[in-house]
Assembly symmetry: C2
Homo-oligomer: 556 residues x 2
């Protein structure tokens, strides 16, 4: 991993004004943040609305394993490669969360010679978007307790407040807290907690809002809890929506940075991929589509969780229609899916690759079910053997898909030109016939069942007591047309993280459902979902510091 940071530091960055100029954006259309970061101003975004959209390409992957798949690296490499073969391409990815960088080493945006820079800033405060989300979220929380303190005119049931607070920090001590201790002047005591900022519904809203007006409306619809007679209380009831919009005004503008090869990258928004939809912002994707022939973007986790949400939540709500999908796999990850332990990944094992391809095949089927033409990108690692690669290619050929070895990690865009050419072929074939998995009109429980049986191949979906009644109540309240966001482990099609490959016939239990009326989806929680991480025994924060040159050490 050390080389990532050395490669990033050696990058010959262009002034961000030049990157913008190549996209056709002048100095007045961007807001610079230093020399190598900028936001595209609201007025410039609005002025693009009449332009035709370029082609949207989704990069997704097999189920993640500890071996690493390189989805972001492939997204960046493909973007650079498309530019090399003469297409104006823009990469769109999510922003990094600050807190986790101080826990485990990590945080790069891509890897090797397929990275987005400036890496340090993107993993620290960047342009302040996450801090704005934190502030907007916590202002609403403060206004809830303040409303109760001053007489509780709305009759909020303090036992039924669902809105917690957030912090962009791995801090397990804040998961479960009691606030309002210390006497009358500090208000009424109650039990609540903090989530990490990326888990905030405000983050999901920022990523789904079309413009400031839509942002305002969505914020107003947030349900923060219930009255003693169980009517929902919204952010608008508390008159918090206007001030929250003001706090998020700048953050809604997409961030422009660049790849190592000086191609534009919009890095904007970062909702959780489990309890939220896990994609970069609609506004960034839309802006990129108006400015490019091709937009390459990625979805969180594997194609089961990530692509499904990208397609059924983001594309549905924003009216986006992808032209093709790229499914990333590595020989190492396929071997793990074929039952090989991490320690033994260095040993050639063709049979394990073939066994692991069952996971890949399941994702291929699923993506085809959405009407998307696709290509498999084999993200090449040094230890891959020709026989293993052949086994993968043979499997893909049997399923009518091309698998293309890619070397963007070691060679940058030049290493992914074959992939880029295949993507262009797929897009220009106009094979795409994108459709959602389920219609808006389907009842909520049936939506959950449809995702779980058709994507996750569960034999049966089990609802915890109260879940179905809750869904029906929301339908009565007018939320029945919302899509569903499944929150479950990303490591398996089942709810057992150790069950790799392509399990079927399992049961998926829905423990709890949550209404995100502002973001515009219902979350179905299947299994334990952690919304506030902790720090490890030796957090990377212990070794992060400035070196004598003023460079940041230990962050990656």
């Amino acid at each position: 991993m050390t080389s990532d940071i050395l490669i990033a530091r050696a990058a010959r960055k262009l002034p961000i004004t030049e990157v913008a100029a190549r996209m056709g954006l002048g100095d007045q259309e961007i807001l610079r943040y230093g020399h190598d970061k900028a936001k595209i101003a609201h007025h410039a975004v609005a002025a693009l609305a009449h332009r035709p959209r370029g082609h949207l390409v989704l990069v997704t992957a097999i189920n993640p394993t500890p071996a690493g798949e390189g989805k972001t690296t492939t997204t960046v490499g493909l973007g650079d490669a498309l530019n090399r073969i003469g297409k104006r391409a823009t990469v769109c990815i999510r922003e990094a969360s600050l807190g986790p960088n101080f826990g485990m080493k990590g945080g790069a945006a891509g890897g090797g010679h397929a990275q987005i820079v400036p890496m340090e800033e993107m993993n620290l405060h960047f342009t302040g978007d996450f801090h704005a989300v934190t502030a907007a979220h916590n202002l609403l929380a403060a206004m809830i307790d303040n409303h109760i303190y001053w007489g509780n005119d709305l009759d909020i049931d303090t036992r039924r407040i669902t809105w917690r607070r957030v912090m962009d920090m791995n801090d397990r001590a804040l998961r479960d807290v009691v606030v309002g201790l210390g006497g009358v002047s500090n208000g009424f005591s109650r039990q609540t907690g903090f989530d990490i900022t990326v888990a905030s519904e405000v983050m999901a809203i920022l990523c789904l809002a079309r413009d400031l007006d839509d942002l305002h409306k969505r914020l107003g619809r947030i349900v923060v809890g219930y009255t003693t007679d169980r009517r929902p209380v919204t952010a608008r009831d508390l008159k918090a929506d206007g001030a929250m919009t003001v706090l998020l005004r700048d953050a809604l503008q997409p961030n422009l940075v660049q790849t190592l090869e000086n191609n534009p990258a919009l890095v904007h928004g970062g909702p959780f991929a489990n309890i939220a939809h896990g994609c970069n912002s609609v506004i960034a994707t839309e802006t990129a589509l108006r400015l490019s022939d091709y937009v390459v973007t990625e979805a969180g986790f594997g194609a089961d969780l990530g692509a499904e949400k990208f397609l059924d939540i983001k594309c549905r709500l924003a009216g986006l229609s992808p032209a093709a999908a790229v499914l990333v796999a590595t020989i190492r990850a396929l071997k793990m899916n074929g039952g090989v332990a991490k320690e033994e990944l260095g040993t050639k094992d063709v049979a394990a690759v073939t066994r692991g391809c069952a996971n890949l095949g399941r994702h291929i089927e699923n993506l085809r079910g959405f009407g998307l033409p696709l290509v498999v990108a084999l993200n090449h690692f040094a230890g891959d053997t020709p026989a293993e690669i052949q086994a993968l290619q043979a499997y893909c050929a049997r399923h009518g898909v091309t698998a293309i070895p890619c070397h963007h990690w070691s060679k940058g865009g030049a290493g992914a030109e074959d992939l880029a050419s295949r993507v262009v072929e797929l897009v220009e074939s106009k094979e795409a016939d994108f459709h959602n998995l389920y219609p808006d009109s389907m009842p909520l429980w049936q939506k959950i069942e449809t995702i779980c049986t058709r994507i996750y191949r569960a034999a049966h979906v089990e609802a915890a007591p109260g879940v179905r009644a809750q869904l029906e109540l929301w339908e009565e309240e007018g939320h029945g047309r919302l899509p569903v966001c499944i929150a479950k482990t990303q490591y398996s099609f089942s709810t057992d993280p150790d069950l790799r490959g392509a399990p079927e016939g399992h049961v998926i239990p829905v423990r709890e459902v949550r209404l995100n009326a502002g973001a515009g989806f219902v979350v179905a929680i299947c299994g334990q979902i952690m919304t506030m991480p902790g720090l490890p025994r030796h957090p990377s924060a212990e070794t992060i510091a400035l070196n004598d040159l003023g460079q940041i050490e230990g962050l990656f």
Copy 2:
């Protein structure tokens, strides 16, 4: 107040690159944040070190009253006026805290035609400095609980952790909380709380650090609590200092904005004026001094609290030496000090002005005690009568000080040219013979007594049980040379906020002392000090929103 925002919106701002260029700073020496904000880069700050310093002028005031004094307005007006009479002058003020803007209306930087812009951004996220302070502070907090969770090798006594968490929000429910509930995986439960970000010692450190290296060292010295055998535990013991420095790297760079008259203003840092020293950053003041003939800066609250801390903490630690002081007063505030109720301030009352001058006179004496030549700036209000103004001028003349009526609020810099000329006269007279109130070597308790008796004119200082023993312990541990920061009401020389004028013979009780080993001072708490405000019954957040033009309404 409405006109402030209209005047600010009508401002003809220069591109910030032009403001920088006029100071001699090129494009590579600043980091732009949009079109009208920038940071002066670390390398540019460092390159100035060899240059001679300009003259430092302190703007301070009589004790604050609800009538308003206009200290910031006068600071800005004087800066503009100095530029008008041919001096290269820079204004240095503090940044605004985000949270309180959502409580009470307010937040402008100056007023009328003496303002700093862009007003909205400066009162919202600005360049993210406060968010960086919040993150650095809370990372340290997370690392404390994480250390205990993983075995507590340092043997931290969980009952003696003094480091709380912070949030830039008025949220009374967070003042007193229990964290770590919910079972084994969430750590050990303990009672703690949140302060508002400006109350963080990290903020005070940011404002006193000379450079990144000094910042790192100061952060490492922060005492977060005590072991079971009562030895102090520092941020360095927890290995948090390096990562905190990384989080604050960008924030340490001074922010450049402009006045309505396009003169440079450095707006940087914002420590509390009670439990901390309440001045803008040392690094901003130093940078401005190397780039200007004159630097006009202000201190928090009245001259008793604010100027004393500016002189005995900031100037002492940074080796700064002011050349003159401006003492701001208004006829209205003097009348309140003379016993007039707020509702009756519109009525002419020469006798009340003269009575109120006792407060002014006390501050004149105190400032002279520091060896500073001074002038009184009468910040003119429309209702002031000639007889009242004459009474003030006569009082000042008797005390050997010129009192100059100023009209910068209505006329901008042109309204403060007389004041500017007098300031130049004082500076050029080289009368200043600045010296601190007490030497570093004085014992801590004696420092407290010296400030309370000589500045506050207390007859006697009372220590709560344990206070003097605590101070002696810190002296034994090597903290005896630190200056003292008095935390008390800003409304009176006494600890009774209703005792206006020039009380004497009172007793000041020291309830508690706190060690800020990182910032480099000992805080003596005299009276109730609120470190986490609450929101009012109808917070201004309820009316803050974007209007149809995308402008922010309700923030001011």
